[in-house]
Structures are given as structure tokens and as C-alpha cells.
Symmetry: C2
Subunit: 338 residues, 2 copies
Amino acid sequence: MRFGLFGSAQARRGVPDVDSGAGFREFVENNVEAEALGYHSTFIVEHHFTGFGQISATLNLLTWVGARTTTLRLGTAVIVLAWHNPVLLAEQVATLDLLSGGRVDFGIGKGYRYNEFAGFATPMEDADARFDESLEVMRTAWTSDVPWSHRGTYWQFDNVVVEPPTAQKPHPPLWMGAGSPASIRKVAALGFNLLLDQYASIQQIGERIAIFKTEVEARGRVFDPMNVGVTRSINIVTTPADLERAMANRVAGRRRIDRLATRPDGPGSNRAQLSDAEICASALYGTPDEVGRMMQSLRAAGAEYVLLNSAGGRPTLRRFAQELMPAFSDVAPVAADG
Amino acid sequence: MRFGLFGSAQARRGVPDVDSGAGFREFVENNVEAEALGYHSTFIVEHHFTGFGQISATLNLLTWVGARTTTLRLGTAVIVLAWHNPVLLAEQVATLDLLSGGRVDFGIGKGYRYNEFAGFATPMEDADARFDESLEVMRTAWTSDVPWSHRGTYWQFDNVVVEPPTAQKPHPPLWMGAGSPASIRKVAALGFNLLLDQYASIQQIGERIAIFKTEVEARGRVFDPMNVGVTRSINIVTTPADLERAMANRVAGRRRIDRLATRPDGPGSNRAQLSDAEICASALYGTPDEVGRMMQSLRAAGAEYVLLNSAGGRPTLRRFAQELMPAFSDVAPVAADG
């Protein structure tokens, strides 16, 4: 198996006497240590207008992390294309890819939070069309050495060649989150890698990897389980009281995101309604033995690449790396059996 | 006096067997060494669609440089606001400012290259209006802790608070290029710092600093010569043949930019027409003694903060720092006498 990080730095504003940069610096140091501990990658979210300081300029934070590391893959999970000028974004990704020696994993999405569409004054109904158009522009920007033009619904470019080139060819690997069978098949059809969400049950993870594997193979390609990143929250806790507190925090965190995703006229359309029990069931929370058993179940379901969001901070990342990672890293990847 | 760097990394595309990342890596190492040599800052251009690999994602390259340095000020010279979503740009600048501990100098401009306006399909006639609107949005984004909305000609935002906050308050210093008396007075009126162009003669530099000083003081503020960055090309060469080659390269470089700035129906309107002799006269090219005398003239004209673009690469930056910088750094700044 292979393990990466998944999450966000945090920098709040408007709170007197708070050092807003502390969350960023801690995040950077976490990643520097994670590389030394054997983690393969870091995937950072991107969100806007959250009110609690989730990272908004993801590629900039990732660039800083890149300069402080040497092997860590630098991932986005995910950047919503709708907000970005696709040419500027292609330039930014290529610049980081060049600077880092080809370490970018570019995770992209259509967006699901109502408050972001509202903030950018972008109709949520345009999410699909904006995603498709921006992706087309970005791929052209990365791959075309001769001048091209684009006259689309949302973007226009005339007679341009976009610089710099990417280090990875034809461009960095693209990753996309998906949950429904149709959306998973679409990710496979596009030839992208797959991100699976941290609230899905182990059974759902198995089903989704199986759908992806089937679709990839149906298209004549070889399925590589390392092309599926399974995100999970992790927290190594050793007392029932700590476990209870950790689970309560997890539920509160999910509810906070639910509120940002909610439309004024009802819940976000592409957002699962989860009970507290479901939210807790997907978490890798417990003693090292308990976490190890859950990881074994994930692996039995076909997961070989797990991206960990540590609710237990650096101590949990250290304990996982030292006490559990070796047992899961010393055998070759197996094909999914889900 | 104080000295910084000014320039661009270079990463070409579409040239077989060229390591496109080499120019970026060399640029980063130049900056790391420059900090150790006593340079105060680095100011990086931003340009798009040049065809010869000028840096396009300036804030990303600057972020990488920031992670590799500890005191170097991180400047843009300049970012054209017209191409950027002002909220995303405010987030990117704030993120770098936080990560770097408040080292950002944010240089902004309206744009002068026809090929960039054409590439982004943006009418050049909108340059002023776009600049004004974007600047207003960015300042609100940086300074407002309560939700705000903006319904402008080019941008709309609804009920947002932009995160993260900047480290410098109320926001990083703003720098702006100007040449005509009216535009210099406008920079002073806005309370920004001033960038002076590398092709202006020493006499023009003196006149422009004097105009700025007069306008700053007329507004009841104290003039600080360190708020004027005078850009200069430098090349320490010791033979007539090397000097001739260096001057020829300089003329060719200017002509290349002239072509990018030219409208199909005539020259760029805000672009001076310079003879080869004028292009050469502003360059700090020659032996250390000759460069020292030219620097002394610049200082006599009122320049205290010079941003050097080294056409002679790292060897020139080293020689300047070791042989000339001490003589110019050991006395307190004097007021402009121009």
C-alpha cells in the first residue's frame, strides 16, 4: 500500500490576537516531516469564503510545500475549475510542475458548495458546462506548441501559446472525485485517476473501486490500484473519552461543511445526507490495533492508496508511520478483489 | 542605498531537448545567493504568450523563492490586474504574505502589451477601468472582516469574506510603474510606491523622483526614497568586445518587447520610441569602476533603491555585491536633490 496526506491548512481572519500564519507554518512542517516519515503525497483542498480559514490559494501553499520537500507528490483535492481562468490556472500548474520536477497531481472538480457559487456569482446550473469548457482549454494550453484560439461560452483566447510547459507529459495526472456509478465510469472514460470520499463506507469503497476497475479494463487499459486515492480521516486515540471527543469533532466538522453546501431552498443536490453514525463509521479512529484492522478491511476492499487527513495532528501521523505503515508497505500492490 | 533584483525566469516550450525547468532552477538559486550577498528584494515580471518563456505564474515562482529565502522581499513588477479574478489574486497574495512572514511587495499595472490584451480577448480600451475596479475589489478583500458584495462592470461577488488575511496591514505595499508627470502624481496620490523604468535616462530618473517627492510632500506625507524602485540593467564586462556584445543583446531584447507591445495599426500608445543609443545609455554596463560611476550619478539624481536586472547573470551580481555594494550601502539614505 501507499499513503499520502489529505486536508487543509487553516488561516483565519478577523480574530484579534490570532497569528493567522501559524496554521500555514504548522501545515508546512507537517508535510516536511511526513515526507521523511515515508508518506508519498499531500493533497490539499481548495475552498473560498468558508469563514473558518480553509485554504483558498491552494497552488501557492502547495508551491511552498514543494520547495521544502524533494519527493512528496503535490496534489490538489480538488480545485473547482469554475472559479479560475483556465489559461492562468494552466500556467500556475505548469510552473509548479516544472519547479518541483514533475510532482504535481492535479485534482479537479465541479464544485458542490452553494456558498462558493453564490460568492463568485456563478449559477450552480453552469457547473458542468464550465468544468467541461475549462478542462478543454487547460488541456490545449498544456499540449499545444502552436498558436490556438478558443471562443467558448465562458472564455475567449486568441492566437496564444501558453508558457511554461509542464514537466510531466502530456500534462500532470488528473484526478477527480466521484461517488455514483455513472460519475465513476465517466472518470474512467476520461482517463483520469479517481478520488474516493472520506465518508464512504468500506463497502462503498469496494464497490466503487470495482466499478472503476471494470470500466478501465473494458476500455483496454490496465487497472492500477495506485490510481485510486481513498481519502480517510485518521486519529489514533487510546481512551474511550478521547475517542468520543474525536468522533464528536468529526460530526461537527461534517455538519459545518453541510451548511456551506446547502442551498437556501434545500440541501445541496450532489451531497449525501449522512447520519452521525455513518459519519463516524468511515473514520479510522482508535488504538493502533483498531486502526490497523480498519486499514486491513480497506485493503481487502481493494484500496491500495490511502490519503489520510489526520484529525490527530502530527502525533497521529508519526504513530501511523512508525507503528502501522511498515506492515502495509512491505508487500506488492494486489489487484482489487471487490 | 539599497539594492534588489528585477527580472524574469525563463522557461521555453516546444523546443526539443531543452530542459524547460533549468531556467527556473537557475533563477531560484540566483535569488538564494542574492539574499546571502546582501540584496534586499527580488521583483519578478509577469507576462503571457511571449513565445520566449517569460514567467507567467509570477506568484507561484515567487512563492518557491520565498520558501528558499528568509529575508528577501518578494516583489511583482508588475502583475497586470486585468487578467486576474481580483478575489483569487487577493487570496494568492495574502497566502504568500502569510507564508513569508510579510515579505510581499505587490507591484501592479494596467498592461501595455498588445499581444496580451489580444490573447486574453480583452479590449485594450478597458485597461484603466479594469485596473480601477480590480484594485477596489482587492483592497476590500484584504481589509474587510465583514461580508461584502460587489456588482461591477467586470466582476461580481456576493456576500463574501475573503481568507486568508494578509500578514502586512492593511495589506502588502503596492507598487506601480509610472513615467509621465501625470501618472507619477497619480501614484503618489494613491499612496503607492513608485517603480521607474529601466530605459529612462539618469536625468529623467532625477526629474521623476523629484515630481514624486513634491507630490508626496504636498499631501503632507514624508518622502522616503526607499519607496522609489529604480530598475536598471547591469552587466559587468571588462573588454570592449564584451561590452559591444552586451549592448547589442540589450537592443535586441528591447526590440523584441517592442514587437509584443505593438498594435497591428501602429506602436503601443503608452510606449516610448527609443533609439539604439538611448537604449544603451541607460544600461549599467562596463567595468566595475564604470558601473560605480554610473551608480553614483543615479544616486546624485535621487535614486536610493535600485533594482538590478543582471544581463551578466550571477557573476555580475556577485561582483557588484562584493566590489561595489559596500561603498554604496555604508551611508544613510539622503533625500533626493533632483
